[in-house]
Symmetry: C2
Subunit: 687 residues, 2 copies
């Protein structure tokens, strides 16, 4: 199963040129007071005044506070101190201030349970002399802390929280991020920092894709051959798993493991070939795609194996749900196995889908025995399964509708495939329950939420954060905020703000980019690389697999395309300014556009020596040449528009052809400014 | 117990101006072929030709290879692929190529033991069609891998290893890095990435300072109150400890724990106040310094406690040595405890030093019972202890000399206090056995080596890497390479190269700087901050504690001074160019200096709006003003020198006074270019 985008703007010149533009723009937004909240709360009323953050700020609980809220309070204070440089007087590690004198008071009734539909609401009142945070459960308190950290603002007198009243509760109960650690293993610290990122945007479930053809990534005590032979030594110990679960629980996040069966299971069958549907031996798969090895669903040993396996996993993972995958079984091994054919006839199983349904039923019974509910990709859907299972839709929204109409719960992932490097706006407007969905109200309630999916064929621990963040914050808002919150421009404004704030959690979405450029250049002098990176985006969807290189688990993911952020901020702003210029014909905007284009055009000459001294960079020489060409066309188009000269159709055709050529991918990447330049070219005709 | 420096140069203009200068300079070095090896090998002979790195590169063992060398080989290939972008054909995770067809062959005789004086030598022969790496132990093989990675070079035809013959062996057996995780806790991933950095420069022992007044940082099974009450929840589980030890062992690195007793032990006594020399209760110490709480050395319960404690720790830590600290006991609790006074009299212990010697003797006997040798800070030295103990000198070299003359082994840390932000050159020239050391040859053999010490009062997990790297590589060279290797300029050239290469190991010494600037600015637009950061260094030694702020464990270490690198590269190069200009009077150099100074002078105006919008930055406004002033003086001086006008003494006096004022610290930091500007001012007089 298994795309969106953000390039990172650094150069002073363009920034300065943009400042007046963006601020003028922002003033027009409906989000009250231009707050940087993401997700937007259910209800918000801004009042007068500011709560000043000083060294006297002390946090205290009204009534008893449990360990989770105390630890969260300490992290809250540490992050606030980190941003403001203030030496808070309170020893927030050791004690929550006495509630009387504390300027920030919180209160909750009961510890939250980590399960769907637990109360996560909170009410926040900020007045000039006090912050009051009230929630039903400590989960709500944690959400409130994150809201306050997003509210922190600054004026000439210092840091403050604006006075307001927020009443907030999520729209959907299931708000997840899938991290695939099978295709590329992700060490514990990668998972932990992403859990912190999830908490910051109020996501509440980590879907941990632990096994696949390319790796079995956790220690199994009863069948140790699984991790010993199926992982190349890259797996989590059970102690590490418990550590991650506790870390997540401290942040109000559930951890649901996925064990993808009966297909996507080569790594298991390396260890236990006798359980496969065809003779082994098998090797850990290095390539990406759909492979033949599949468990034998007609062999009782298979179920004895899974009974013992899930007994162990059910006690390791406290969450009420276990995901069994169930996707992309090509059936080849089943078709070529005579005994399996006979079994199908004997049991009146008409096709492989029916056979897999039989398998799923057996597995579901095992999970139920150990107190777990089953989750699977949309292929597992079949009437007859108990109604407490959950269907995860990846092939399209229809699966979600079908299953809801038959009374089954579902979550949406189709449209949230963040590995495919599509723009945040694309994901943002993908609503699990859009207006056109033909469902009755009770059926709609069966749609529990959604999950962003971070498949890891083309990411490593160095790049995964940049694929997840900040775009996943847009998905988090879709799943938390009222359906009516749909302003894409305002989303991007807030996304830019949260992107910087997420870095305090150790996330590497920005900082690893220059590290990667330094490695490619073999030097700290990377100026021109930085410039071209502003407008480069990785190829979208699955196109990167179609560029003449066969990627495997061993392929280096350290190229320019890997350093490129999925969505170029500079290109997005350039497109926006272009639209604005074409609407207003404002000379100032044109000048800013031209300055930017000149900078990009000039970069080719600066970059060439660097490319010459680093062969690994040679693949971006044509991309750099294209940037020169396209920027030059843009400059000519601007000049023509400003000069109000009659459109020159020959030049337009020639320029369009050049843009088309430039759109062809080079270095597995593309230039994100071309559509804007094409608009400028088109506009030369209409003057 | 418990400083050096590297600012990071980014701006194209200055870099370009410097290129001709540095390359001309580098050509004069003695290091053959301008290799980037650090530490420099014992013997090296460069031959003709290049070994080309292609996709066909395959690595293979001659004879049997154990897990350590196989895993290291896989990491070697992954790093090489990461830099070159090559898709190696070999499945290096699963198999080492058959030795016949492999272009890179390695061989060793026996697995290395992780203990002092194990054979770490290796011989490397690179010829155009083959790399051959031969060692006595796999530890030598690991060192050889790192050497090859440092040798990797590039020309117009691609990546290559230059042909050569290296025979290499360390000068000292004990080459360590101390990491203090008590003052600020460092999560496992921080330790791991630093172990990788250590391996890259051939360090072989991690000295893990696990306990101190501010925290008891590991799980203790027999006395769980220690971590439960002494750590604020910030400690390593024993599983994590084992994980770190295994990770280190895979990289040929010993892990020696330090349990600092009888003083520096407040965190222990929070849990067990009855073992203290004065009545409790005690609280975990938040401040820095020397504190009163100390174990009661006259109470047999103390030794019963330590017997059980060290029994557990001796089995947790496989290393043959345990460090017991033994430093900075102020004796106050002993002096005010009547029973302790009586005990001293009864046992004829003349002073507290003698009492502590008694304590040490008892502890040493416990360690010996569990098969461990004792290490301690130089205070523990006393005749009568067995000769297998090791004295770590922190107060000065004399302790090392004294103990060696009495037949005791020692290691040097005085002069290697990397937390004090002193220049790499300072540490580099600090030799454990300098020519003046009045020791006989046998006595010199007792000096086992040295350790860089990373005390963590003023670092967090965000900044610790920037204090350790790259300066620690200079110390690593001092401890590995022949004593005659002393060329400071060449060391800096190689340090700049390794600094970039160390980033591939996940180290954050460069990349966290801009992250921190973005947090301070609350925005991705940090251009002028970057510029001033080029020439800022943190205050040296212990001066930062004397600036009107009382730092504690809770103080935010997120300011500009924390983002500043210990040694400004831009300032170092500026000083160097200034010297070169004053020697040659070369106009081209003067132009480059002036361009740079103009850029720094212009920065003040650019930075001011940023400071205005971020109160936490206000403390650097005077620093920025100083940079304006000093750069302006430098420009005037250069103009005067070039104009060959007669020196204007009044202007000189005024400028000197301005420089003196600018030297006064602001924002806990200093401007590293002032000495060079003062030289320029002085030079106006001699024209």
């Amino acid at each position: 199963m298994r795309c969106p985008s953000s390039s990172f703007l650094r150069r002073g010149t363009f920034i300065v040129a943009l400042l007046w533009f963006c601020s003028a723009f922002a003033a027009a937004l409906e989000n009250p007071g231009n707050l940087n909240l993401i997700p937007v709360p259910s209800k918000i009323a801004v009042t007068e005044g500011k709560f000043r953050i000083t060294e006297d700020l002390a946090i205290g609980a009204i009534g008893e506070a449990g360990a989770r809220s105390k630890k969260a309070a300490a992290r809250f204070m540490e992050r606030l101190a980190g941003r403001t440089g203030l030496f808070f007087k309170q020893d927030y590690l050791a004690e929550l201030g006495p509630s009387g004198s504390s300027s920030f008071l919180f209160k909750y009734e009961t510890p939250g349970q980590l399960e769907p539909f637990e109360d996560e609401s909170y009410a926040l009142t900020v007045s000039p002399d006090r912050i009051l945070l009230i929630a039903k459960t400590d989960l709500g308190v944690l959400h409130g802390f994150e809201t306050i950290l997003q509210l922190m603002d600054v004026d000439s007198q210092g840091y403050f929280i604006p006075c307001l009243q927020i009443d907030d509760t999520p729209r959907f109960a299931w708000r997840g991020l899938l991290i695939d650690v099978a295709r590329h293993f992700m060490p514990v610290d990668v998972i932990k920092r992403n859990l912190d990122g999830m908490a910051a945007v109020k996501l509440n479930i980590l879907h941990w894709h632990l096994t696949d053809d390319q790796g079995f990534r956790l220690e199994c005590k009863i069948f140790p051959r699984l991790h010993q032979f199926g992982s190349d030594g890259l797996y989590y110990s059970q102690d590490q798993v418990r550590d991650v679960i506790a870390y997540a629980a401290d942040r109000g996040i559930r951890v649901m493991p996925e064990f993808d069966i009966p297909g996507h299971s080569t790594s298991w069958l390396v260890a236990y070939p006798a359980l496969a549907s065809a003779p082994g031996p098998f090797k850990i798969e290095r390539k990406w795609g759909v492979f033949d090895p599949v468990f034998n669903p007609t062999d009782e040993n298979t179920y004895r194996f899974f009974d013992l396996f899930f007994e162990e996993m059910a006690s390791l993972f406290p969450d009420g749900y276990i995901h069994i995958g169930g996707d992309e079984n090509n059936g080849k091994q089943w078709d070529s196995n005579l005994e399996i054919q006979q079994f199908k006839k004997a049991h009146n199983l008409l096709d492989n889908h029916a056979l897999q349904a039989y398998f799923n039923g057996r597995i579901q019974a095992i999970l139920a025995k150990y107190g777990k509910k089953m989750v699977g990709w949309d292929e597992i859907f079949q009437p007859g399964l108990p109604k407490d299972i959950v269907i995860q839709s990846w092939r399209g929204r229809q699966a979600l509708i079908d299953s809801a109409q038959r009374g089954y719960q579902g979550i949406l992932s189709s449209g949230y495939y963040i590995d495919l490097c599509q723009p945040a706006a694309y994901h943002y407007l993908n609503d699990p329950i859009s207006d056109e969905v033909p469902l009755k109200d009770e059926e709609k309630k069966l749609i529990l939420g959604g999950e962003a999916t971070m498949w890891s064929e083309l990411v490593t621990q160095e790049t995964i954060d940049s694929r997840i963040w900040p775009r996943t914050a847009a998905i988090a808002e879709r799943l938390w905020s009222p359906a009516s919150v749909q302003d894409v421009d305002d989303m991007y404004r807030r996304l830019d703000a949260i992107a910087v704030r997420l870095e305090e959690l150790g996330l590497t979405h920005f900082k690893n980019q220059e590290m990667m450029l330094r490695r490619l250049a073999g030097s700290a002098d990377i100026g021109p690389l930085r410039t071209i990176l502003e407008v480069i985006e990785p190829l979208k969807q699955y196109k990167r697999h179609d560029q003449g290189l066969t990627y495997t688990e061993l392929s280096p993911l350290t190229r320019i395309v890997d350093a490129a952020l999925p969505e170029s901020k500079a290109a997005r702003l350039f497109r926006k300014m272009t639209d604005e210029f074409l609407r207003t014909n404002d000379r100032k905007i044109a000048d800013a556009l031209k300055t930017q284009l000149q900078r990009w055009r000039a970069n080719h000459q600066l970059l060439r020596p660097l490319i010459k001294s680093s062969p690994v960079l040679s693949e971006i020489e044509p991309l750099s040449q294209d940037l020169y060409t396209v920027a030059d066309i843009g400059i000519q188009a601007l000049d023509a528009i400003l000069a109000k000269t009659a459109g020159d159709r020959a030049w337009v055709n020639e320029s369009r052809a050049a843009c088309e050529l430039a759109k062809k991918s080079k270095g597995h990447a593309e230039l994100a400014l071309i559509p804007a330049v094409e608009k400028l070219v088109q506009a030369t005709l209409s003057r």
